[in-house]
């Protein structure tokens, strides 16, 4: 190592994959620790996926169960699809963190705790009657009790920092410990510390020292008998960064607007877990990004629609509760046929539900949540990085077809992260935008023959002054019309326009055999779990395939024939059965649902188990 850390003397064991979780109080800096460990793992060449788990409270009293914050990372020498089911390693900074997380640790897994934090007061706050470190209840794990606080304090002794400041360096001590244990480089973390605390050199010094202290401690202490290495994964060459779904979404929009050479306008009202897209975009004003924090979701989408009328790439972002409020304006957008992307970052409902937890129960609302016949294309991102692609695609479709488009993401994608092969801006698809300026033969609702979309004419264009609105319009002229057959004609052309977007959908990728016993059909954030489960089943010799839908409306043209090639179709969803209803209605296929609604992603093992049951002939639940 650069600073002369001695060569490792202890034996090294090799592992394919490790799932590690850092858990502590909200104030303990677990998110930072996890992200630094992730950076190190990426630089070590592993494939990986991450998932933070924030507490629902802003700042629950220190040491309580409600205040626990955690960060999970799965890193591997093999392809990684999920942040991992069960843990190989748990770092627990206090009793509350232990209590809320330890049941996810594999038997025999490594459990690292800050021993000193297990004092009476903390034990009580966590609801422990006895100290679990001493009552034998952790016997099934490899328990490593470290005096983290004491050791950190010792390392920073001469810096003259307050006890509180010293205490806040504990996380870097633990990062040091675990970095040694898994052979992660610590230089990137060191660099991060230097940047972050630029203005307070004593904190740079303190945190860097804590990091090194932890590293040296593991190396030297008798605690760990072995360390572990995880070989680099075989990853397509290219430049990578780790990216969360929300950041990817924001960048996808910026890239699309940039490519379209139009300003990006976001009208939004803060809501968990969507707010970060607003936050991210509001830092990007140099890209001609207008962010408008509206008085509510109705105003957010309304302003976006106004901006669309004016010629901007217009988007709005929200989560379930806010989607309800946008419905009427989405209806208007489709009646006036202006481009608009509505992003719904789903969270656990109904009503306020569990705002910090994930769910994918807004699909049917996206399809049908407006009065009247109001068809809207619906897209869904499959992974955190895919949010970039689908946000970009949503804009492209919206402007090409002059239509509102709903993009679905979820809390799991939003906050989860994975390595993203950074695209070359020059190779991104074109997003052609042409505003009509020619008065010859112009009518506001004259349609392109193929796409059926109407012209985009923006205010300020001489000679093309016209009026649009939500009343039914006469075919072609767009004048208000109550004529019965005109209404039918308009209804059908709007429906056909959206149905025609099927031509934008690439052939469906089938992962696995082209026919067989079982087809798993998923959508949204369940991609990783389903893909991994499918791999496992295939490895075990089952003829199982996986199709993951990113276009939900319209559905891909080839889907019907694919569905027909498997004996059984199973649809795992984090809801009570929504896509499964669409497939059944559309194709009359006896698809069955596999549903879990616990505010968290499927475990790979759960899907595997469900599939095995089905492969063994047990039928499952029908949508309820």
């Amino acid at each position: 190592m650069a600073d002369g850390v001695a060569t490792l003397a202890k034996p090294i064991e090799e592992r394919d994959a490790i799932v590690i979780r850092f858990a502590g109080d909200s104030g303990d800096g677990m998110q930072v620790t996890g992200m630094q460990f992730t950076t190190g793992s990426a630089l070590a060449g592993n494939d990986l996926a991450t998932l933070p788990d924030f507490p629902a409270e802003i700042r629950a009293p220190a040491g309580t169960l409600a205040g626990v914050s955690a960060f999970q990372l799965n890193f591997s020498s093999l392809p990684v699809f999920t942040p991992g089911d069960d843990l190989d390693v748990l770092v627990a900074m206090n009793p509350a963190a232990l209590k809320t997380n330890v049941e996810d640790l594999k038997a025999g897994g490594i459990l690292i705790v800050d021993k000193e934090s297990f004092h009476e007061q903390n034990l009580k706050k966590a609801g422990y009657d006895h100290n679990p470190l001493t009552d034998g209840s952790l016997a099934r794990y490899q328990l490593f009790q470290i005096d983290v606080t004491k050791l950190t304090t010792a390392a920073l002794q001469d810096l003259g920092l307050s006890a509180r400041s010293v205490f806040r360096c504990r996380n870097f001590f633990c990062l040091g410990v675990t970095s040694w244990l898994y052979h992660r480089p610590i230089e990137p973390a060191e660099q991060w510390i230097r940047d972050k605390f630029r203005k307070t050199p004593e904190l740079v010094e303190a945190n860097v020292r804590a990091l090194h202290a932890g590293y040296h401690f593991s190396e030297n202490a008798e605690l760990f008998a072995v360390s572990y290495s995880v070989k680099p994964a075989v990853i397509p060459p290219g430049r990578y960064r780790n990216i969360t779904g929300n950041t990817a979404t924001a960048l996808g929009f910026v890239a699309a607007a940039h490519k379209a050479k139009r300003p990006l306008f976001l009208g939004s009202y803060p809501i968990t877990p969507a707010s970060d897209v607003l936050h991210e975009l509001s830092t990007l004003k140099q890209f001609d990004v207008y962010t408008f924090q509206a008085e509510d979701e109705i105003a957010g989408v309304g302003a976006a629609l106004g901006a669309a009328f004016g010629g901007a790439i217009a988007i709005t972002t929200t989560s379930g509760p806010g989607m309800n409020l946008k419905a009427e304006t989405i209806g208007l957008a489709l009646a006036v046929e202006l481009p608009l992307v509505i992003t719904d970052i789903q969270r656990a409902g109904p009503s306020t539900g569990m705002p910090t937890k994930t769910e994918q129960a807004d699909l049917l609302m996206a399809m049908y949540g407006r009065h009247g016949e109001a068809p809207v294309p619906v897209l869904a991102a499959a992974t955190p990085a895919d949010c970039f692609t689908m946000a970009y695609e949503a804009v492209r479709i919206a402007v090409k077809y002059m239509t509102p488009v709903i993009l679905l993401s979820d809390g799991f994608l939003a906050n989860g992260a994975e390595p993203w092969p950074i695209p070359d801006p020059d190779t991104l698809p074109d997003v052609p935008v042409t505003f009509r300026t020619d008065p010859g033969g112009f009518f506001p609702y004259v349609r392109d023959e193929e796409s059926l979309s109407r012209p985009w004419v923006i205010p300020g264009t001489p000679g093309l002054e016209h009026r649009i609105g939500g009343l039914e319009k006469e075919y072609l002229t767009g004048n208000v019309s109550y004529a019965p057959t005109n209404h039918e004609q308009m209804m059908r052309v709007r429906a056909r326009k959206v149905a025609g977007i099927v031509r934008e959908i690439p052939p469906t990728e089938v992962f696995g055999p082209a026919d067989g016993e079982l087809l798993l059909v998923g959508w949204g954030g369940t991609y990783g779990s389903i893909r991994q489960a499918t791999s496992q089943l295939q490895a075990a010799g089952h003829r199982v395939a996986h199709v993951h839908l990113r276009h939900l409306n319209p559905l891909p043209a080839d889907l019907e024939s694919i569905l027909g090639r498997y004996r059984r179709v199973l649809v795992p969803e984090i809801n009570l059965g929504q896509l499964v209803r669409l497939l059944r209605a559309e194709y009359l296929v006896d698809a069955i649902g596999f549903n879990k609604v616990q505010g968290r992603p499927f475990k790979v093992a759960e899907i595997v188990a469900r599939c095995l049951k089905l492969l063994n002939g047990e039928h499952g639940e029908v949508p309820s």
């Binding site: 001609d288 106004g306 649009i468 609105g469």
Partner: protein, 338 residues
């Protein structure tokens, strides 16, 4: 979308008349307002294609169909939101919001007050007929207590908003009131609304001759008008009456009507000051039965506009930090696999 716009040197009223049949009830006050606006628009020196009229839903909200500019007849109550997005991203447009007392103050109340607070440089024409016209006659948030309508057969019990007071509560930078049939006055106010930088909030008393006929007879009938209208003029004392012999005086911070003469002179009266919103609020709370109805500009003050400030932030961000998509995508910790 027929005649040429920017290129033509001089526009007239007819250039702002669209090809759509006007669909208001015969005798509706909306006609007069439409006509005055169509008269003023060509005088503002703005190419026709730069005007945009945005409305919600209501009789009044059909207005954009009849004006040969860009127009957006949107949904109930949401015109201010739509106009906000349009103006914020296209500040060079002249954006007008046309709305009714239900559209603006019932369902759309929140958007209106936020628009006023943000002070986007747009103009709001609120047609106040104190009734829901389009839905055929329910009481509105500006209907007087005891109003008998279809939904209040034995009289409404809720105290109405005064649109002027509400706008002042939201710290609107320009607040005015005019009357559908006061053609000159209305034209002047529309012109001033246009000239004002910031949100110009104009309440126009409008007769709905079908569902609330004569609601403003006091201020529109020849016989009563002068005694019931207080025409506000900046820097002038508050005088009214057929013989301009009455005025408003303040005593112990309480306004009172006084008869001029007999020792009371104009010097004793309150003097209107458009730059003082607190005075505007005091005047706003005058009105029948004890006081005349004030019309004119209540307040006109300068403060920064949202659209300009946002545009400024973007311009300076671009200047400081030119957009580089490649750099953006490659931001943060990256690594290369080869």
């Amino acid at each position: 979308m027929s005649a040429p716009g920017a290129s033509e040197p001089k526009l007239g009223k007819k250039d702002f008349v669209s090809d759509q049949d006007v669909r208001w009830c015969p005798g509706c006050g909306d006609y007069a307002i439409l006509s005055q606006v169509q008269k003023v628009l060509p005088e503002l020196g703005i190419p026709r294609e730069r005007f945009v009229f945005v409305s919600g839903i209501g009789c009044s909200s059909r207005f954009p169909y009849y004006v040969n500019t860009y127009g957006f007849h949107s949904i109930h109550g949401r015109a201010p939101a739509i106009a906000t997005g349009l103006k914020a991203s296209r500040p060079e447009l002249s954006v007008w919001i046309v709305t009714g007392d239900g559209d603006a103050l019932s369902i759309g109340g929140n958007h209106v007050i936020h628009l006023l607070r943000r002070n986007l440089d747009v103009n709001v024409l609120l047609f106040n007929n104190k009734i829901y016209g389009l839905t055929k006659g329910q009481y509105s948030p500006t209907s007087e207590v005891g109003k008998i309508t279809k939904s209040t057969p034995i009289g409404s019990v809720d105290h109405p908003f005064d649109p002027i007071a509400l706008a002042l509560g939201a710290e609107a930078s320009f607040v005015a009131r005019s009357v559908d049939v006061e053609t000159r006055h209305l034209q002047d106010i529309v012109r001033r609304a246009h000239e004002h930088r910031g949100t110009s909030f104009v309440e126009i008393l409008q007769n709905c001759n079908v569902f609330n006929d004569g609601a403003f007879a006091d201020v529109t009938e020849k016989a009563t008008k002068a005694d019931h209208t207080l025409v506000l003029e900046h820097g002038k004392p508050l005088v009214f009456g057929k013989d301009r012999d009455r005025g408003i005086r303040l005593r112990n911070f309480q306004p009172e009507v006084v008869q001029l003469g007999d020792g009371v002179t104009e010097a004793d009266l309150l003097v209107h000051d458009e730059t003082n919103p607190a005075l505007a609020y005091l005047i706003a709370r005058l009105g029948p039965p004890d006081f005349p109805t004030p019309i004119g500009v209540f307040t006109a003050v300068e403060r920064p506009c949202y659209d300009a400030a946002l545009g400024q932030q973007i311009a300076s961000a671009r200047a400081k930090n030119p957009p580089d998509l490649r750099a953006l995508l490659n931001r943060g910790d990256t690594w290369t696999v080869s």
